[in-house]
């Protein structure tokens, strides 16, 4: 939440007339900090750099470089419009203008000549409305966090009760959860096959806590027997997986809930083997649901690295080695690969003191839930992105290279840290192909060649490299351009922009 009491909210005023801006600043300055932009391109630049700071935009329509509608398009594309309210102040009163502005998501439309008190009131009302919306989003976030936390707490308590009679239990459930999570995320990294969402990962991790509930019906003499089990005892022990599943099957309610279905699969099949020699159903390979495969691997790893009544704990390295050598069952080769990739992380996580429910996770889930309802991630997420951006700017300033971002709609280049000056143009260049400075820097035909190279990239081959002698810092130098195009997430990806650098060879 914005600290309304300590800090004045920032309002961006974009109008090409200095006089009009001065009047607006004058009527708002007592209560707000005004930031001024004298054209659309400057407004976009300010928004790009400070989108989490700007509480409201007062926007003129007819402006040079980018007009008000162009600015709104950019705000839509970057989803800023969902966080930052826009009030248009314009002398254009034709319905063509007002309709288009509302369609692009503006909150209000004030006609010139405006009334000072009307501007003040509409600004206050709009800010309050958005502040309320942000507050509600925070409330939702908090509730999802609480719900998630209560859920995992309940499940943890119940599973501990189940395992209470089981001497080996202890932190086992916690471990399984952590290992399962790391394996799932690792699987996402190593392969495109599953692409688990944050929500699915959270669901499987929660369900993993229930994998051994069937053990309630195993006599504790067998469960806690220090020595080797007889064949008969082992046969009884083996029933726990099927029993666990049937406990869940008999639930009067919630049987069809995704959590219960996942937990059932994990209960029943976490002792199946990839080679088909497991129990109870002797499922083969990927007949075993992936969640059960992963919990099975987590279970084996934790059993190996923990002390049990019948054995000492193996080291992390030894456990990994034994699993890889197939000494402890048979696993999906893909999961063995994942285990290898995440081995260090696994060790670090299991030996750290951090608590379980991390808010990062909850926040990601919240963001996902909210995005399904067409609301973007909260201000915190945006602030995070901005932090990343700042880091990037620092790196850029330390380097001798000219770093730029290209966007296609509107077609413009933004140079970082004075790069524009070094190639003889401004920091923001709208329609780069027609830009005088850039044409002087490398020549019209080269500019067109480069544009062509960009247009020939694909999401699979997004890189562009180009070498030429160009004017850099007013001197002819052999330079290399390396850039990478960026694509939308749509089913048919569209090019949205590029980032790149120009460096002397």
């Amino acid at each position: 939440m914005a600290a309304v009491k300590n800090k004045k909210l920032k309002i961006l005023i974009a109008d090409d007339s200095e006089m009009n801006r001065a009047i607006l600043v004058d009527i708002l300055k007592d209560k707000y900090d005004a930031v001024e932009a004298e054209d659309g391109a400057e407004a976009v630049k300010i928004l790009r750099a400070h989108s989490a700071d700007i509480a409201l935009v007062l926007l003129d329509i007819n402006m040079p470089k980018l007009n008000g509608f162009d600015v709104l398009e950019v705000m839509n594309k970057n989803k800023w419009i969902e966080e930052i309210p826009v009030i248009i102040i314009s002398a254009e009163n034709a319905s063509y203008f007002t309709e288009r502005a509302y369609a692009l998501g503006v909150t209000d439309y004030i006609s010139r000549p405006f009334d000072v008190s009307v501007v003040q009131h509409r600004v206050i009302n709009t800010l309050m409305l958005y502040e309320k919306q942000k507050m509600l989003m925070d409330v939702v976030e908090e509730q999802i966090y609480q719900r998630q936390k209560n859920n995992s707490m309940m499940i943890n308590i119940l599973s501990h009760i189940v395992e209470f009679g089981n001497a080996e239990s202890g932190p086992h459930i916690q471990h399984i959860r952590i290992i399962t999570e790391i394996l799932l995320k690792g699987l996402n990294e190593v392969s495109d096959q599953y692409n688990f969402s944050h929500e699915e990962i959270a669901l499987i991790c929660t369900a993993s806590a229930l994998h051994d509930i069937g053990k309630v019906s195993i006599p504790s003499e067998i469960l806690n027997k220090p020595g080797r089990l007889t064949d008969e005892e082992f046969a009884i022990m083996k029933t726990h997986s099927a029993i666990g599943a049937s406990i869940l099957d008999k639930l009067p309610l919630y049987k069809d809930e995704p959590l219960v279905k996942t937990a059932r699969a994990i209960c029943r099949w976490h002792h199946e083997r990839y080679d088909g020699r497991g129990y109870p159903d002797r499922l083969l390979g990927d007949e075993i649901p992936i969640a059960a495969q992963i919990v099975a691997l987590a279970d084996v790893y934790d059993a190996l690295t923990s002390e049990r009544v019948y054995k000492a704990a193996y080291s992390h390295e030894k456990a990994i080695e034994m699993i890889k050598n197939g000494e402890c069952g048979s696993f999906n080769p893909l999961l063995i690969k994942v285990l290898d990739v995440v081995a260090d992380e696994l060790y670090a996580e299991l030996h750290s003191d951090t608590g379980e429910t991390d808010d990062v996770e909850v926040r990601q889930i919240t963001a996902e839930v909210l995005s399904q309802k067409q609301i973007s991630a909260s201000g915190r997420t945006i602030a995070q992105l901005e932090k990343e951006r700042n880091k990037y700017m620092i790196f850029a300033s330390l380097s001798d290279e000219v770093i730029f971002e290209l966007s296609y709609s509107p077609y413009m280049i933004t140079f970082l840290n004075g790069g524009g000056r070094r190639v003889g143009t401004s920091e923001i260049v709208v329609n780069p192909l027609d830009d005088e400075g850039l044409n002087k820097c490398c020549g019209k035909s080269r500019l067109q060649d480069i544009a062509l190279l960009f247009s020939r990239t694909t999401p699979e081959n997004p890189t562009v490299t180009y070498e030429a002698e160009i004017l850099l810092d007013n001197t002819l130098k052999n330079c290399k351009l390396v850039a990478q195009t960026m694509w939308s997430d749509d089913e048919k990806p569209e090019i949205v922009g590029a980032v790149g650098k120009i460096s002397p060879v």
């Binding site: 006089m19 009009n20 040079p64 002398a91 010139r112 000549p113 000072v116």
Partner: protein, 117 residues
């Protein structure tokens, strides 16, 4: 010259503007500032260079500023010129002469307004 007399001289809306600006003090401050507004010069320059789109933006800005300050006479001409340029035409007839004359009156009036300060 008082502010009331100033608005009478230039054919502006004193009462409406003071009401919109919530007080005479703010109107006075910004009326005096009008001298420094570059949109009139920009309009003349763009027309001389035959740059219609720049001329349109300049005329539009001038129109907006005049409208805000309640300089109705000047606003009306600027508004006519804006619409001709928006249509992509450059034949402004006698509208530019009218605009220059009215602009001259406003600038002279601002000078006498200043002397009374």
């Amino acid at each position: 010259m008082t502010l009331t007399e100033f608005y009478d001289t230039i054919g502006g809306d004193y009462g409406g503007t003071v009401a919109r600006f919530m007080g005479e003090e703010r109107v006075m401050r910004f009326a005096l500032k009008f001298e420094n507004d570059p949109s009139f010069d920009k309009l003349c320059e763009a027309l001389e260079n035959g740059n219609v789109s720049e001329a349109f933006i300049a005329a539009h800005t001038l129109k907006g500023v005049c409208q805000n300050l309640g300089f109705d006479g000047l606003y009306k001409v600027a508004s006519e010129i804006t619409e001709i340029l928006r249509a992509g035409k450059t034949d402004l007839g006698d509208r530019m002469d009218d605009l220059k004359a009215k602009y001259g009156v406003v600038i002279t009036a601002i000078k006498s307004l200043k002397e009374n300060q």
